[in-house]
Symmetry: C2
Subunit: 463 residues, 2 copies
């Protein structure tokens, strides 16, 4: 169909003013007097809607006037400037045809609906202002991330979703199976006979693509993943979902400083991209969802991120222990209250905290020379706390094997990973960015359920 988008009309209005145009969209509001009426229509291409004026010289004036909010219409008319009005122009319609009516019980009426209610109609909520803004910005953030890495020559790697390995503890993983649940096949000793399962062994949904990603970084030097990850955690919070997307870059011939440079550049790039490409949506969030959002994001783009070791950070925080519910001592993990105090009160800008005690970090992180800390890094940002976690990886075969033994990991499960340290090992590093947390950070939305199109949480798998 030969329709012009409302985005195109707003972006290149000079080209269309006083000309005939045809648009299609959904009615946001409609009111009429006896001889004419106004329709506000949105076509999903642009945050701002378009006003249509129609008159009783149309044959179907009556039919139009009785349309409900949500109806789909196609309008042909002249785009006319409206210098006296709030909106810059409107369409004086010659013809309005009803593409699809909207039943009287349409749940989205002009009043404001609560986010809780809108979660119960996830198939319709993208038609509201807030979710138009959220999901367009989500899409733009995803694209900005791809663009950032591709411009720098990174190779996008699709690490697998179904995995036979069990890197961070099977308790938190979803089982994937084609076995008959009504009648699970058993071995003579009573255990489940996974040899009959689709892959001939136990399989789960991945919790991270990092280890697979490392194999590609040792071939392509700079790679990134961007795909779904899963956690079967029984935690019903505003920040956890069972299914979420993650970005995991991995860089060879690179150390922890290179890793921080990359993370800082990426965050600034993505924020700048969204501010430039979704100004209407970002203004909406700043006005109606999170006042102060734009200032905070601008501040991130314009500041050099601070860098501090965990040990130094603990010293700084200990002086303020009277302010915290959980007291800080060296050796314990930082809580969100500590992270936010560091970034919001002490540094007033994003801060990288590095070199954490080995006991609170993963086996693959590079041991520092002190023998007590590892080359880990968390990036903390005002308003949210930790947004990125990463590390330089242990590239020494013997040290890695020693750490694996300390943590009771089976050598045979990680043969491929150890191989990377036997054949042309390089210093290398990487980090993980939870995509939903990034979307929450850039939009100011406070519940992860409201930044995922169809959220999956405990006891919730609708649509």
């Amino acid at each position: 169909m030969d329709l012009v988008t409302i985005r195109e009309l707003f972006k290149n209005s000079a080209e269309y003013l006083d000309k005939k145009v045809t648009v299609g969209g959904w009615i946001r509001s409609i009111r009429d007097s006896k001889t004419f009426g106004f329709i506000v229509v949105n076509d999903g291409s642009y945050f701002e809607p378009l006003q249509i004026v129609y008159h009783d010289n149309m044959e179907n004036f009556g039919e139009i006037s009785k349309q409900n909010v949500g109806a789909a219409i196609i309008v042909t008319g002249t785009l006319v400037a409206t210098p006296q009005a709030k909106q810059p122009f409107e369409i004086q319609a010659d013809e309005v045809t009803v593409e699809g009516a909207s039943a009287p019980d349409y749940p989205l009426q002009k009043k404001r609906h609560s986010f809780e209610y809108l979660r119960t109609i996830s198939h319709l909520r993208p038609r509201t202002n807030t979710f138009q803004a959220v999901f367009r910005v989500r899409s733009l953030i995803a694209y900005a991330i791809h663009q950032f890495f591709q411009e720098r020559g990174f190779v996008y790697v699709h690490t697998p979703l179904i995995t036979g390995s069990d890197c961070e503890g099977a308790g938190e993983m979803f089982r994937v199976t084609t076995l008959d649940m009504d009648n699970v096949p058993k071995n003579p000793d009573g255990t489940v006979d996974y040899s009959q399962d689709f892959f001939g062994k136990e399989t789960n949904l991945t919790v991270s693509g990092q280890l697979n990603g490392e194999t590609f970084a040792q071939a392509f030097r700079s790679i990134y993943t961007f795909g779904p990850t899963f956690r079967a955690e029984n935690s019903n919070t505003t920040r956890h979902a069972a299914e979420f997307w993650m970005i995991e870059p991995e860089i060879a011939f690179a150390d922890l400083n290179d890793n921080m440079d990359l993370a800082e550049d990426m965050l600034k790039y993505v924020i700048s991209y969204v501010l430039e490409n979704a100004p209407e949506e970002m203004n909406f969030f700043n006005s109606f969802v999170d006042k102060g959002l734009l200032d905070r994001l601008q501040n991130v783009v314009n500041s050099d991120f601070a860098r501090v070791t965990y040990t130094e950070a603990v010293e700084l925080l200990e002086k303020n222990n009277d302010k915290f519910e959980y007291k800080v001592t060296w050796g314990t993990d930082l809580q969100t209250e500590h992270e936010r105090y560091l970034t919001e009160e002490i540094y007033k800008r994003p801060v990288f905290v590095t070199d954490y005690p080995k006991e609170i970090k993963a086996f693959y992180m590079k041991m520092n020379e002190d023998g007590k800390t590892v080359a880990a890094v968390d990036c903390l940002v005002p308003g949210i706390g930790e947004i990125i976690g990463g590390s330089q990886r242990e590239d020494d075969y013997d040290k890695l094997l020693e750490r694996m033994k300390e943590m009771n990991l089976k050598e045979e499960d990680y043969k491929f990973y150890l191989d990377l340290r036997r054949y042309g090992s390089t210093r290398h590093a990487g980090f993980g960015l939870g995509f939903e947390r990034c979307v929450m950070y850039l939009t100011g939305m406070s519940n992860i359920r409201d930044v995922v199109p169809f959220p999956r949480t405990v006891n919730n798998c609708d649509l």
Copy 2:
């Protein structure tokens, strides 16, 4: 680390000639005489390797000379033009340091390895020429697809992976569960008690994001998905994987012609992007994997795709029934031999086949006025057959409900989908592109296992 990539040296060599540079990479081959040696090194940033010349004036000349293929080194030296040689330049090294040695049993020696063997070392095969080319091109195709849709204002939607619905038959789906497989909880009547499962009900891995995608198209007008999909089909072929990625655009205010225009534009865009951005890799495929590949792809870019109805296509094919193993008759689905005959012999270019008998297509496809066919479309390309399948969707509530009843689908499972036809329904259409099939098509690789980083097939879930 302050290293220059080999890509940068090749793309902007004038800037670096006769200057000091430092590169890091992995040894592809090494040979030495008593006083000097040659190393061919690749850093994963560029398909072509770089030659290093080193001399015995270096302290560690002996250590360097005994390095094995696969070792990681860092080289500082002068980039020097080599007008007499095959390669345009080389590095005259001042310093070569070994970043990580390569053990004597390194599996990738200079000889050619079979794809079958390389599948057994999926963590190392990206270091070979073929898989460097495959996985870089895979990354570029993915990016080209995002770029194509984003430039046109499409919203990227992450449809869910874990799903409670069962759109195309549970027999082909993977179950997702946190129930204890050793001791599956049962209801009093002996059935599985899914209320104790993570989501409180039966859940599976998705086979398509289309229905969810449609809900967003009715809000944003033009959307696309790009994510993993799963089939638990027990088919051990060169074209099927249990886990693969799919692109599913969906456009509102659009009919089957708009859908074909979009698919044709997308394929041409993606091919052009890859030819422009990976000429070295594409020449390699054309020389060593699939002679004729470049001609075939150029032909696709330059031709207008043909458009023919299923009924017309059957008439054309019936005249050639003596050439086919399976004879063509109206009402049966086209086999690959028929599809390839149409596109390779009859049209000699890509062809859209439209308006298939309703009996062989899905319930959501729009019924044509003849009452016998639906507004489906398959895109067939030379060398492969079907690469895209799509349709205009049934947008009429009553007709959709009737089709669902004919096919014994439960109305309550599709309430959200029917709602789209009650609240501002629009004519709309979409298609699915199997990403791996697209990568195979553009690279000439003939086994899906060789275009997926870590393939998942029956009895195969390594790493």
